[in-house]
């Protein structure tokens, strides 16, 4: 039996813009020209003022854990070798929240409010995924 393959994703429209930038190792969000709110995920219409002028901005990639869960089971056979793996919602310093995995951190060491930074994982030639890792105290100072 062959090894399970990655479940395919089909980003379209604004989603594709986001994933194309991830391949360039850029984590992007939008800023509305009309009301200056930070917007994520990428949209064609601002959810705050309904304006259509949204400018792409690059995030620094640093933020804090809003919440997390360590899954003892995989969502798909492809991820089975990774369990337990940790999923995080991260509040970026720019004021938007993104979803990804946390790496380089045992599940028992994760906490709400923990500072993290983005890393870019080139999992396939055409697909880069976002991960976060803890920011150590030394690195912060």
């Amino acid at each position: 039996m062959s090894a399970p393959t990655r479940p395919p994703i089909t980003p379209r429209g604004e989603e594709k813009v986001f994933f194309d930038r991830l391949r360039e190792h850029k984590l992007v969000f939008q800023r509305c020209a009309g009301c200056s709110h930070a917007v994520f995920p990428l949209r064609t219409v601002c959810p705050h003022c309904f304006g259509e002028s949204l400018d792409l901005e690059r995030a620094a990639g640093t933020g804090t854990v809003y919440s997390f869960t360590a899954q003892a089971r995989a969502s798909h056979p492809f991820f089975a070798a990774d369990v337990p793996y940790t999923l995080v919602l991260v509040d970026l310093d720019e004021g938007v929240r993104v979803f990804a995995n946390l790496v380089d951190c045992p599940p028992d060491d994760v906490s709400v409010g923990m500072p993290v930074e983005a890393v870019f994982d080139d999992v396939e030639p055409e697909l880069t995924l976002l991960r976060f890792r803890p920011v150590s105290i030394e690195e912060q100072s």
Binding site: D82, P84, L87, G113
Partner: protein
């Protein structure tokens, strides 16, 4: 103009609420429809309004109409996840009041337990979540629980206490799938699936079919002496994917329930039985807070000391609901059925004495959509 008290449930039925015997999801729906109609003293020929939602069928109303061989003149496949049917009660009442149909059937069927291990969701996955391995929906509820614990100090023991209470209610039925008491330690030792949620923090996976029949309040009085009136109905929506949930510990349940209670003209303290969607222990806690049964953040303390067990301060989920009785993918239909049982005085050993007013609240997806219904033995509050 309001739909308050203008329509009533005159027939209700559920079947195969743990495991089916050779029936398909639509077959379960069809049997439930027939039995609910018989309960109402009506036949399929009377049905001219059809309401359903499904994880199996992209066009469930068409599938069910074809299977039943009927040609309804009003149809509604509102898809809000597990709370769809609670919302559809309000839609049916409005349709009846507007003259769009006279006999409305709301139905659901699922063979989720029989299909164990096979995908029973048509939902498209988010490219912002799926590549990272999120298990829908439990991974999302793990995140909700972690946040609730960090924010309010909620504990795993408190979450487990709800599962224990739900089991106690289920033991008062003749259909409890697991007919032995449960302890907090058993929940905590049942294995973490996605931190901090254990296997027994999760709802059962069952089959099940259920249906109710609604007609106008005037016609209801001719059909039976104990119709269950729809006094209030409310809906609200917040997000689609959990990564877009603005606040993991606050939901739009507050809005849908306020709308339903306001329409009904009653307050929460008048409610005799409550039937609140419990896909997970944490989702129940968050909903109890947002519905106003306790203050925000105090759900953990509220479920402690058996407050929600039989004899407690709130008669909640009196058949054990999703945690201990039935959960075939979408629970809403079965919350309605239990409320109807209580209001008819047909709830046997678990009957809440003189139950006259019930609140039914469902969520859809990961605390994303909400629908509330206020049901009553009387057409006036």
């Amino acid at each position: 103009m309001s739909i308050r008290g203008t329509s009533a449930i005159v027939g209700a039925a559920q079947l195969d609420t743990f495991k089916t015997d050779g029936k398909s999801p639509v077959g379960l729906m069809a049997v439930a429809v027939n039995r609910a109609l018989a309960d109402a003293g009506l036949t399929l020929a009377d049905v001219d309004g059809l309401f359903t939602a499904s994880s199996y069928y992209a066009f469930p109303t068409l599938t069910l109409a074809e299977y039943l061989g009927i040609h309804p003149r009003h149809m509604d496949s509102t898809a809000l996840g597990g709370c769809s049917f609670i919302a559809q009660l309000g839609h049916a009442a409005a349709a009846i009041q507007a003259g769009l149909c006279d006999v409305a059937v709301v139905a659901y069927g699922s063979t989720q337990r029989t299909d164990a291990g096979k995908l029973v969701s048509m939902a498209e996955s988010s490219p912002y979540e799926q590549p990272y391995g999120l298990i829908h929906p439990i991974g999302a509820f793990g995140m909700v629980a972690q946040r609730h614990m960090a924010q309010y100090g909620t504990t795993s023991e408190q979450l487990a206490q709800y599962a224990v209470s739900a089991r106690e209610w289920a033991l008062l039925t003749d259909t409890a799938p697991y007919p032995t008491p449960l302890t907090v330690d058993e929940v905590l030792n049942s294995g973490v699936i996605t931190s901090p949620l254990h296997k027994l923090d999760c709802c059962l996976v069952t089959d099940g079919g259920a249906a109710v029949v609604l007609v106008s309040a005037e016609r209801a009085r001719d059909l039976r002496d104990n119709p269950v009136y729809l006094l209030g109905s409310g809906e609200a929506v917040n997000h689609r994917n959990v990564s877009q949930m603005p606040d993991l510990t606050a939901t739009e349940a507050a809005r849908s329930s306020q709308r339903a209670l306001q329409m009904a003209g009653v307050t929460l303290d008048q409610i005799d039985t409550a039937h609140v969607y419990d896909a997970f222990t944490i989702s129940l806690l968050v909903l109890l807070e947002d519905l106003g049964f306790c203050a925000k953040g105090e759900g953990g303390a509220f479920v402690e000391n058996g407050n929600l067990a039989p004899g407690g301060s709130l008669a909640l989920n009196t058949n054990g609901a999703g945690l201990a009785q039935v959960h075939p993918g979408m629970l809403g239909m079965f919350l309605i059925i239990e409320a109807v049982q209580q209001l008819r005085g047909d709830a046997g050993r678990r009957q809440v004495p003189d139950a006259r007013l019930s609140l039914v609240h469902g969520m859809g997806l990961t605390l994303a959509a909400h629908a509330t219904a206020v049901l009553s033995t009387q057409p006036e509050p």
